[in-house]
C-alpha cells in the first residue's frame, strides 16, 4: 500500500522556486531516502508535505487522501509526523515534557509510549528531568526522534538527523534509524550524508536543483554515478 504519494510538487517562496515537479512515493513498511546536495530542495519537499512550506502546485496524498492545504496540526492525528531539521527540541522544557508534547495528539496512549521511548533511548530516561536545551546535540537528536515517535506515526519524516553531529554520534543516529526500520517504521529520510543513508534505506531518490534526477534501490544508486553527479552539480 502506498502511504505517501507526491505528484508534480512545486514549492515556491515568493519568486524563488525551490522545488519543481517532484514525484515520489513511499509504501508502507518502506524506508526511503531523499538525498542531494545542500539547497537541492529536499527539506522544502518535506516541509511542503506537512504544510510548513508553501506547495504552489501538485498533489500530496497521504493514505489516499489529498493533504495539500490541510493544516499542519491536523496531520499528526492522521499518522504523519515530521522530525524537523536542526532537531528543534523545546529547549526550556524537560526531556519528559518534550515527550508529552510529542504525544499530545494521542494523550491516552502517551504514558505507555513514553515508557517505550525510554527503553529505546535509555539516555533519555536518565535525563528525563533535564532541560532539553542542556542536552548534547546527539541526545537532542534522539529526543527529537523520540518526540516524533510519541505520536505513533504511520509515516515518519526525518529531516537531516545527522546534521551538525560528530561522526561517532552520526553512526549512533544511523544505527537508530536502522533499528526503527527493523521495527517496521515507515520512513522518509532526508539526508546529505548519502553513503550512510543508503546503508539504512530500501530505496532513494536523488534531488538536484529542485528536481528528482534519479531514483533506485540503495544498491543500484551505490553502483551508479548519479549521486556523485548530483553532488558535483552535473545537473
Amino acid at each position: 500500500m502506498t502511504v505517501l504519494e507526491v505528484e508534480g510538487l512545486e514549492v515556491a517562496y515568493g519568486a524563488v522556486v525551490a522545488v519543481r515537479g517532484v514525484d515520489l512515493a513511499v509504501a508502507a513498511g518502506e524506508a526511503v531516502a531523499l538525498v542531494g546536495a545542500n539547497g537541492a530542495g529536499k527539506s522544502s519537499t518535506l516541509n511542503a508535505v506537512v504544510g510548513l512550506a508553501p506547495a504552489t502546485a501538485g498533489r500530496i496524498r497521504f493514505k489516499g487522501d489529498e493533504i495539500r492545504g490541510v493544516p499542519t496540526e491536523r496531520l499528526v492525528r492522521r499518522g504523519l509526523t515530521l522530525s524537523p531539521e536542526g532537531r528543534r527540541v523545546f529547549p526550556g522544557l524537560t526531556v519528559e515534557e518534550n515527550l508529552v508534547v510529542g504525544g499530545y495528539a494521542r494523550r491516552r496512549a502517551a504514558a505507555r509510549t513514553a515508557a517505550e521511548m525510554y527503553s529505546l533511548f535509555p539516555i533519555l530516561a536518565e535525563r528525563r528531568r533535564q532541560l532539553a536545551g542542556t542536552l548534547s546535540g546527539g541526545q537532542q537528536q534522539m529526543l527529537a526522534i523520540a518526540r516524533a515517535l510519541m505520536s505513533g506515526p504511520e509515516l515518519l519524516l526525518l529531516d537531516e538527523p545527522s546534521l551538525g553531529l560528530a561522526p561517532q554520534i552520526v553512526e549512533q543516529i544511523f544505527d537508530l534509524v536502522a533499528t526503527l526500520r527493523g521495527r517496521g517504521v515507515t520512513m522518509l529520510l532526508v539526508e546529505q550524508n548519502v553513503a550512510m543513508a543508503l546503508d539504512v534505506v530500501d530505496r532513494a531518490y536523488v534531488m538536484a536543483q529542485g528536481r528528482i534526477v534519479g531514483s533506485g534501490t540503495a544498491a543500484e544508486l551505490r553502483a551508479s554515478d548519479l549521486v556523485a553527479a548530483a553532488y558535483l552539480g552535473a545537473h
Partner: protein, 297 residues
C-alpha cells in the same frame, strides 16, 4: 519597624497584583508576540461587572467570580474579533490593533456607562483591619496577597503538570514544531487569552477591593505598570513577570513611604529611573525568557 512591616505588606499586595497583570501580558506575548495594551480594559470590564452585580444586589463574594468570568469571556472575544485577523501580521500591526481595542472600549465605557467613577460596595469584612504580631493590616491587603499567590501557584501547576499547559509552553518556544506535534494554534492562542483574562479579572477584583470604585480608565495605569514590570522582569518570561511585578510594587510603595514630602511629586520619575538603571545593567530584564529573539508563529 512597624511602619516598615506595614509598608512591606502593602508592597507585596500591590506587587502581587502587578505580577498577575504582568503574567497575563507575558503569556500572550510569549505565545503570539503581541503586547496587548487592551489588557487593562479586561480589568475595567471586570470592574464594571462588579459594579453591575452590586446594582443587581449580588453580594461581593458572589459577584467576584462573575467579574472574573466576564474578563475571560471578553479576552476570548477580543482574540476572536480583533487579534485573529492580524495574527500573522507584524508586531507593530498587532500593537496598534491592541491600542485601537483599548481606545474603543474606553470610549464605549465613557459613553455607555459613565465618565465618572462608579462606586463598588465592598463587604465589611474586606474593609476591616486585623492585628497581626502587633501591627494593623487591612483584610483587603491580606486577601490580595493570598489570592495573588494562590493564582500563581495554580497557574504554575497548570503550566507544568497538565498536557495543555505543557503544550502552551512548547508553543511559546517553537510554535511551528508544536503544531507539527498536533498542538492546535487556534486553541493555544485562545487558551493564552483566556488565561490572561482570568489573571486580569482576578487582578481587577483585587484592585477594586482596595479602591471601592471603577472608572473607564481603571485598567490603564495598572497595566502600564504591569508592562513596565514585564520589561523589568524580562519580556515573555513568566518568572520574570512575577519578579518584575513584585519589584515594581516595592519600588512604588517604598518611595511613597520614605521619600521626603518635598520629593513626593518626583516619585514616579525616580521609580522609572530605578527601572532604567536595572535595565542598563540587565538589558534583557531580571529573569529573561530562554528564547529571547526567537521567531514567533
Amino acid at each position: 519597624m512597624d511602619f516598615f512591616l506595614q509598608q512591606f505588606v502593602n508592597a507585596v499586595a500591590l506587587g502581587g497584583t502587578y505580577a498577575l497583570l504582568a503574567l497575563g501580558l507575558a503569556i500572550v506575548f510569549s505565545i503570539m508576540g503581541l503586547i496587548n495594551f487592551a489588557h487593562g480594559e479586561l480589568m475595567t470590564i471586570s470592574g464594571y461587572a462588579l459594579f453591575f452585580c452590586g446594582l443587581a444586589g449580588l453580594p461581593f463574594l458572589a459577584a467576584a467570580p462573575l467579574a472574573v468570568l466576564a474578563a475571560v469571556v471578553a479576552a476570548l472575544l477580543m482574540e476572536r474579533i480583533a487579534f485573529r485577523p492580524v495574527r500573522n501580521a507584524s508586531g507593530a500591526t498587532m500593537l496598534v490593533t491592541s491600542f485601537a481595542v483599548a481606545i474603543i472600549l474606553q470610549t464605549l465605557f465613557q459613553n455607555l456607562i459613565a465618565a465618572r467613577p462608579r462606586p463598588v460596595a465592598l463587604p465589611d469584612a474586606l474593609t476591616r483591619t486585623v492585628e497581626i504580631g502587633g501591627f494593623l493590616v487591612g483584610v483587603n491587603k491580606i486577601a490580595a496577597i493570598v489570592v495573588a499567590f494562590a493564582m500563581m501557584a495554580v497557574l504554575n501547576l497548570f503550566l507544568k503538570r497538565t498536557a495543555t499547559g505543557i503544550a502552551m509552553r512548547a508553543a511559546a518556544q517553537d510554535f511551528a514544531v508544536a503544531r507539527l506535534m498536533g498542538v492546535k494554534a487556534d486553541r493555544v492562542i485562545a487558551g493564552a487569552f483566556a488565561l490572561s483574562g482570568l489573571l486580569a479579572g482576578v487582578a481587577a477584583v483585587l484592585w477594586v477591593s482596595q479602591r471601592a470604585s471603577v472608572d473607564p480608565f481603571m485598567g490603564f495605569v495598572p497595566v502600564l505598570k504591569a508592562f513596565i514590570a514585564s520589561i523589568l522582569g524580562g519580556l515573555g518570561s513568566l518568572t520574570g513577570a512575577v519578579a518584575g511585578g513584585m519589584a515594581l510594587g516595592f519600588i512604588e510603595i517604598f518611595l511613597t513611604a520614605y521619600l521626603p514630602p518635598e520629593w513626593q511629586e518626583f516619585k514616579e520619575p525616580i521609580g522609572l529611573a530605578l527601572v532604567i538603571a536595572v535595565l542598563l545593567m540587565r538589558p534583557n530584564g531580571l529573569l529573561p525568557a530562554a528564547n529571547v529573539g526567537t521567531e514567533k508563529v
